[in-house]
Symmetry: none
Subunit: 419 residues, 2 copies
């Protein structure tokens, strides 16, 4: 089969999606699964509980896709319309399946409940459709080829039921029908300290590759390159990815920090562990956010001593040993104070490294001289030397983002020192 | 306008969505916003970074919808295709907008970075399109009527940028153009310390109301009731909501903590300010997360002194005055140590209140006696008395969620003390 002959479309049915009451996690799950199976997936559609609009969506989908995967609309209530609308669209009668009815009745009995007349509706499927069993819920789905070259799978909208049905029945079925040949395997390379556009320019020849493909993404200050290979097996895909990955890392140099699930905090953690070093933090404008990031990593207690949240100037003096005269003279947001904070926390907590952050997160508190977004980061090293770095993150991204960037930038500075 | 003449479609552009790399939270946000504005919304489409398929999706969407809302594909890289594909589809030339280029250059300069040539692409918009400013990022969107009766809005895929642009520019524009007639106005009531099912039972008669409607939601430990009224004006909607809101609050009692954008941290902040009290925190398993939450509130420096992240036991002793003998005897995760941490941080930071958190966040470190998920929270009050609360959050929700619940529960305890 060519890619077009094999392409899938995910159709999510439910007015609750169009009202924003729920997030479409089913579509993401199915997208990941289709990618893993190597089934091309070019469109997703969301449509409400409305016969006419579901039919219109089906008409479009079966023109452009060969595998239609429906979630939602299989329940017992009158606004659950997927099965009957599909049968009607393809002009095939619904037939009651006694085995489904029996199964639903048993499931209700086991929970000490009575099946309601409305559940009977769930036992009707198009006459030539196969039952797609639902081991963890009442409504079964179906596997149906209403015409040659078109396969329809239906699932309930409840994510846990859908996933179980997908894994237990749909995946083996699709592989047996030749859908799963060749898989797409991806690796995410992660970068900090370079803009998306700058990285894209550095690696521009790679962005036109066909297998693997390389695509840049950005978000929350981080830039990512996704390297995706299509191959018969995961090992073959990895073999296609590996040389490109090495070249991209070489081009990016120290702006590259990790792969897949790595974070700045986990990478710094590994570096500290490898060196047997420890870390302490002194936080002003981030208010504990840096410590929180560091301790997202399970096992961080082996290298993270802790820290001082010196939000108030008195705390900078009493717990970190910052000199009152310098606070007076230079202000809390200054190079001098950042240095004393880093040195103080390193020494008082007995750590190899001390990091400090002091800045103006905004929205208020800025002046002409010290505008919102001005941040100083101090790093005291195991030799007891201290360096200070000044950043101007601007005010336009807001308080939360400035604090996030400050904490991540501090981790990135330490990462570079530990390289 | 009739409903069909006013219906919107959300089109999300990005191969990362079709590979399942990211969850389509933008579509949910826009769905909620459209519902609030009373703009009918019947379809959502997801399509990859591919000119031909984007064009096909546009062709379908402008047959069935009158307001097309695009997210994604506005970045500087070659696979960002939304603007040029739309211009091409409607046969309108792209024109460079010097003011956009100037704005991007300034934003780069403020962060001490150089704009790259590829950013220039972001300054091109169809010649008769209006700029939709992006205050928090580089890529602007557009507001465009390529033909009579068809409005197109484009947004970058980065959720924070998209939301800001939507609120600041798109909503006022849509209302000014008559899209928002007959609005749905909602209020979110927020609760902590009660399960969704328990709250739903308490308020069950309200869940069948028609105008306003009342719907329960739960997430991240918080339970919410959305009260939505349909009316001609916001004031009329508010008048419908107000009595129901009062009744729901009365039923929920102290489990109700706030409305709309309130958070536990902002509510506690208001309480502390009103009383002229101050707060200090001593954090072990949350590693700074409680301080971080408290300082998300702008102006929190008026009541938040700071804290100690006592991740290592030595820090509990040296900076908080916890007795070594008690650490030895009872362990760091114990009522005795939680009490000493709360008292210690209150006293050493000179605050009215001291809160401490010590627990086993997991996944490792649990024992039969002290399993993963066991958390002690200590609260020292302005009279210098201390109370300790024990929680068993279990291990099944994972490390991050246990830490989050711990920090929020600590804030909720303080909130109740301050009532």
């Amino acid at each position: 089969m060519t890619d077009l002959q094999r392409s899938a479309e995910v159709l999510s049915v439910g007015t609750e999606l169009l009202l924003g009451d729920i997030l479409n996690t089913n579509a993401q799950f199915l997208a990941q699964e289709l990618a893993q199976l190597g089934i091309p997936h070019y469109y997703q559609t969301v449509v409400g509980d409305n016969v006419l609009r579901i039919q219109k969506a089906v008409a479009i989908a079966c023109e452009r896709s060969r595998l239609l995967i429906f979630t939602g609309g299989l329940g017992p209530t009158p606004d659950d319309l997927t099965t009957e609308t599909l049968a009607d669209f393809f002009g095939v009668p619904l037939v009651e399946r006694p085995e489904v009815l029996e199964d639903i009745a048993q499931k209700y009995a086991r929970r000490g409940r009575q099946m309601t007349p409305s559940n009977r509706k769930q036992a009707f499927l198009p006459q030539d459709a196969m039952i797609l069993p639902n081991p963890t819920g009442s409504a079964p789905g179906m596997i149906w080829q209403p015409r040659s070259g078109l396969t329809i799978l239906t699932f309930p909208g409840v994510p846990s039921e859908m996933k179980e049905m997908w894994r237990q029945t749909a995946v083996p079925y699709l592989i047996s029908q030749g859908w799963g040949q060749g898989m797409i395997h991806s690796r995410i390379l992660r970068f900090w300290g370079i803009a998306e556009s700058a990285l894209a320019e550095k690696v521009s020849p790679y962005l036109n590759m066909e297998n693997p493909t390389v695509a840049p993404y950005a978000g929350n200050g981080e830039v990512r390159l996704r390297v995706s290979a299509k191959a018969a097996t995961e090992a073959e895909a990895e073999a296609l990815i590996a040389p490109v990955e090495q070249e991209l890392k070489a081009i990016a140099g120290t702006d590259y920090f990790g792969v897949d699930d790595d974070t700045l905090a986990s990478v710094v953690g590994k570096q500290l562990k490898a060196k047997g070093h420890t870390l302490a933090v002194a936080e002003s404008c981030t208010g504990g956010g840096l410590g929180h990031l560091i301790t997202t990593v399970a096992g961080s207690s082996t290298y993270f001593r802790g820290g001082v949240i010196s939000y108030d100037n008195l705390v900078k003096v009493s717990l970190l040993g910052v000199r009152s005269a310098d606070l007076e003279r230079y202000g809390a947001v200054s190079e001098v104070v950042a240095c004393q904070m880093a040195l103080g926390v390193r020494q008082r907590l007995g750590a190899s490294w001390g990091i400090s952050i002091t800045g103006i997160a905004g929205p208020d508190g800025g002046t002409d001289e010290k505008p919102v977004g001005l941040v100083y980061i101090g790093i005291a090293n195991p030799q007891g030397q201290v360096e200070c770095f000044q950043y101007q993150f601007g005010s336009f991204r807001g308080r939360d983002f400035t604090r996030w960037l400050s904490a991540c930038t501090a981790l990135d500075l330490l990462r570079r020192k530990l390289l």
